[in-house]
Every structure is written in C-alpha cells, then in structure tokens.
Amino acid sequence: QEDITITLVPGLTTDAFYITMNRGAQAAADALGINVDFQGAEEFDPVLQTPVLDAVIARGPDAILIAPTDSTQMIEPLRRASEAGIPVITVDTFIDDGMYQDGAGDGDFPLSYVASDNVGGGRMAARFMAEEIGGEGKVYVSNVRPGISTTDQREEGFLAEMEENYPDIEVLETQYNENDASLAASQFQAVLARNPDIAGVFGANLFSALGAGNGVENADMIDQVTVIAFDAPQSIVDNISSGLVDAAIAQHPAEIGYFGVMAAYAALTGQSVPTSIGTGFTVIDADNVGDEDIAKFIYSE
C-alpha cells in the first residue's frame, strides 16, 4: 500500500484555504503511509484547471481529490478521469448537483463530496452580521469577481438569509474587487461616502475582507461598521485581534483534506464511502480568538 498515490487538485494553489487543506491531506497520508501530491492552477478558473487536471490524469494517480472550479464546466474534464479508471472525490466544491452515485445527473460519477457548505457559510455570516448590527441597517458584500463558484455561493447564502429573515437590513449592491485589497478598500470608502450610515460589510474572501477592514480603519469607523470575513488565515485573525475585523467564518479545510484522503483510501481498499461528508464552520470573533482550541482552525500560512 506504500505505492498508493493520490493527487489533490485545489481550486487554486495560492490560497491559504487550500494550503491548509493540503496540510490536512498530508497528515492523513502520513497516517496511512501513502503519498499525496498537490497540483493546481494559479487562479480559480476552469480553463486553467482543466489542463492541470489533464496532466494529473496522465500521471495516473490512484485517486484524485479535486475542488472543481465550476459545477457544470468541470463535469466533462472530470469524466475523463473517471473514464480512465481513476476514482474522483470532490472537496470544497462539487460538480453537477453535488449528489453523487444516485443515478441522476451528468456528474454522478464522483464517489464523495467532502466540504463545508459555502451557501451555509454565507448564511452563517449573515446571521452573525445581523446580530452585530442589531437587525437593521445597510450592509453589502465585497466579492472577488463574478463567476467563482465558492465566493458566488457565499454571497448567495448571505443574500438569501438576509432576504428571508432580516427584512430591516438593506443589502446594497455587491462590489467586485478583482482580488485587489486596495480596490476593495477604495470601494468601501465610496460606499461609505454614499451611505454614511453603512453598518456592515461581508468580505467573501481574504482580500475582500482585508480591503474592507482597511477602508473602515481609514474612515475611523471601526466601532460603527461590522466587518465579517470568510475564511480565517492568520492575517484575518490578526485583524480580529486588533478589532478591524469583527468575525471570521472559518471553514475547516484541514478536516476537508484529511477526510478527503481517508475517503479515497477507503474506496481504494474496497471499503464503502459516504457520498457526502460535511465538515463544519467555526465563527472566530474577538471573544474567542485567544482561545487555545480556536488556534487549530486558523489556516496555515
């Protein structure tokens, strides 16, 4: 069993979330005595992920763990892996409807989906935000760019939760920052100039939240504006300590990686595997940021 090799293909390689996921995967690999490779593209994009996946298939790993960069678009490329006899497990994101092995849909072939639910995370952010701002006021989502499934889903969850449960909260237009913290900061400042009573921002990823936090700081509105971040790399956690960011919705990427490898190993050794493994979220805020058992949810850098 030493020669079992699994390749983990993240949504993008330059993101603390996936780097942490890889750490979890390596931990599982060490525990099992197998190999896990990490190969991905530089941006969260199907056109870039597909050639990487093709080359991974050519290497012929025993299984592929992948965070597909689009639920529809990655079906065909992943089918090639499946047709080459390589079991596929999706992590963090899914293809088709995310329900595998139920005989329905084009993308039914992956064995399992291991993830925290980004829509759910978005909802959680909305609930926390609503609490912080007292159930009323103006908020908006600072997002990367349209078309990234994970961040789109967080926004979707956030908007849905607000719409369904918090009628007194007005959600303004989403602002796209191209992953540029500087632009995200300037956008916050513009929103603020227009809406001096802005109550909160939901930063759908690291740079969105960093930028919004910086905008808030420069406006001297740290106490008035709530900033919620999605994902919990060290820089966000530092910002929570300093009060710039009020809370972060931490996924558990290491768990995702760990259970992903375990599931693949189980499948490769003839065990049965659940078609869906949910990992949770942890909300990190000023109250618990110093706690010891929170440290393990901070993404590695």
């Binding site: 390689t13 490779d37 990490f38 190969q39 991905g40 530089e42 941006e43 994009d45 199907p46 056109v47 870039l48 597909t50 050639p51 990487v52 093709d54 080359a55 991974v56 298939i57 050519a58 290497r59 012929g60 689009d70 639920s71 529809t72 678009q73 990655m74 079906i75 065909e76 490329p77 080459a84 084009d106 760019r145 349209p146 078309g147 789109d152």
Partner: protein
C-alpha cells in the same frame, strides 16, 4: 523565431532556413526532456501516448484561438486586449441561444447558436476597428475599453453567472474527436492554416506586414488602411469568438470570463513566436509553436510533479530560454552588427 522576414521572403538561403527551425528544435528539446524524464522516473512514456498529445493539443488550441487573430493585429503594430472578453461574450451568447431552445436542441438551433455567438464577438471587433481605424484611438486603450464593455455586456446578458446548457450536440462539438483528433484541435488547425494563408500568401497579409513597419508606406501606396484595420480587428474578435464557442462546447457552459485567464498566454505565444511590440514581424507558424511551447511546459511540469510554485519559476525560465535560443540564431547569422 523572429525570422519572419526570411520566412516571408521565402527564397532564404539554406543556412537561414535551417536556422529557422530553431524554434521547432527548442520545442522538440522540451518534449525530449519530458520524455527522458518520464522514461527514467516513471518508466512510462510522455510523448507516445495519444491521451497526452490530445490533452496538450487541446490546451494549445484554446490558447491559439485567441492568439491567431491577435498575431495579425500585432504584426500590424497594434494590440487587442478585448479578445479576453470577446471569447466570453461569444460563449455566453451561444449558451443563451442553446438554452433558450430548450433541452437538447436540434442541429439547426445549435448552428444558430454558433452564428449568434460569432456575431456577438464580431460586434466587439467592429467597435474596436472603428475606434482604432476611424477615431484614431490607440489600440491598447481602445481595446482595453472594449475589454471592459464586452465583459460587462457578457455578465449582464448572462445574469452574472455561467450559463450552463445541456445538449449532446454541443457537447460533442466541444469534446468529440475526428479520428484521433479532438474537434477543438481540428478547428484550431483549420483556422491556423487559414490565418497562415492570409498572412503569408495574400495581399492582405503583405499589407499587414507593411502596416506594422510603416503605416505611411501602405497609405501612400493607395491601400485603404482604415478598412484594413477594421478587418484585422474583426478577424481577431472572430477567432477569439470561435474560442468561446469551443469553450461552451467543451464545458457545456458559457462563461463571461472564459477568455480572460488565457489572454496573457495568448499574447505570450505571439511574442515567443517572434512578433515584436513595434509591429512588422511575426508569423502564424511562430505563434503555433509559441502556443505549443506553453501548453507542453504546463502539461509537462504537472506531469513531472514539480511543486506548483516552482512551476511558475520554470515556466518563466523556459519562456526566456525560448527567446534566448532564438537570439543566438541572430548572432550566428550576424543579423545584428
């Protein structure tokens, strides 16, 4: 790879035409490197597997479809950034028509969708051409503007997200094979031959080269330069648009961002292929080699298991070395001083 002049002028000396092959040689060298690596490290073959060749060619095709028309534009001394989103605009437009036609529409509807997709890209090309040719807007700025506009337009019509479709016809258009050749590769090859013919063998091509060297020469020779520029930008938008159609076929979805991540690779392919910022040189065959060099190293580096960040370094190095090899050729023929 910038021996475009020699190429163009055909009757080059034997020495020169031999040296012309250096870019091919470099490509072959990379392939040989990966083959040896595969043989020694994994005991398998890199090169002699249909699957690998297919994957590499499909990746190269997607780059090429943006790079082909772009080569013409760059040879003429201009640039077209908007192709990044002409691709997406065409992809989304096509997907919307297919979707509107309901589940698994017939061939006629798919053809209509292809035409609508092409038209969408064509509009971007017409606007670019009009800006550059008639309003004298520098192409960098003009096409950066239409880049934003096409992007917004694609997102607006798509409603922000990707437009996913279900159609076996469309899917096989993007993923089918003709004998061993994936359809995207066949289409890119046909277009490459067409663009090569246009650039190397027609009056249009000769005017494009002349335009890049000295606009006045072409104008004074009595060529309608405005019309010529219009056509160049339309061709560029259309080849990029075809890239978008293939995208929709491959991924069963039209995404507004479809072309953006490959823009830089496409531009790189053109320049690796011997074009220059100032215009007047470059060839389609050079661009094809450029696209393949990029596709091969990207595939090969993942295949060889190099850690991802080292891949960035390696790709950067190979791009530089590719051009250095080309430079040393100039030294041998004494083209410079």
């Amino acid at each position: 790879m910038s021996m475009s002049t020699t190429k163009r002028n055909g009757g080059a000396s034997f020495l020169r035409s031999l040296l012309n092959a250096w870019s091919w040689l470099f490509l072959i060298l990379i392939l040989a490197f990966f083959e040896i690596y595969a043989q020694t490290q994994t005991g398998s073959t890199f090169l002699f597997r249909v699957y690998n060749l297919q994957s590499i060619s499909v990746a190269a095709s997607q780059i090429l479809l943006l790079a082909l028309g772009l080569t013409l534009v760059i040879v003429a001394g201009h640039i077209d950034l908007s192709i990044a989103f002409s691709t997406g605009f065409a992809a989304v437009a096509m997907a919307l028509v297919v979707r509107a036609a309901g589940d698994d529409p017939g061939l006629a509807m798919v053809l209509l969708a292809l035409i609508v997709g092409l038209l969408a890209a064509g509009i971007v090309g017409v606007v670019n051409g009009w800006l550059v040719a008639h309003l004298d807007v520098p192409s960098f700025i003009g096409t950066l503007g239409t880049y934003g506009i096409a992007r917004g337009a694609a997102l607006i019509v798509a409603g922000g997200a990707t437009v996913s479709i279900r159609s076996d016809t469309v899917r096989s258009f993007g993923n089918g094979e003709i004998w061993l050749f994936p359809i995207p590769v066949v289409i890119a090859a046909v277009l490459a031959i067409g663009c090569h013919y246009l650039l190397a063998h027609t009056r249009f091509g000769a005017h494009t080269y002349a335009l890049g060297a000295n606009r006045a020469s072409v104008e004074r020779a009595g060529v309608d330069v405005k019309r010529h520029l219009m056509l160049l930008f339309i061709i560029s938008a259309l080849t990029a648009g075809i890239g978008g159609l293939i995208y929709t076929g491959r991924f069963s979805a039209g995404a507004a961002n479809a072309g953006e991540p490959i823009l830089l690779y496409a531009v790189a392919a053109v320049f690796i292929g011997g074009a220059s910022l100032t215009g007047g040189q470059g060839t389609i065959s050079g661009t094809v080699i450029g696209a393949f060099i990029i596709a091969v190293i990207q595939f090969g580096l993942v295949f060889s298991g190099l850690p991802p960040y080292w891949q960035f370094v390696a790709v950067g190095l190979v791009i530089i070395v590719a051009v250095l090899v080309d430079q040393s050729k100039h030294r041998v023929t004494g083209d410079r001083s």
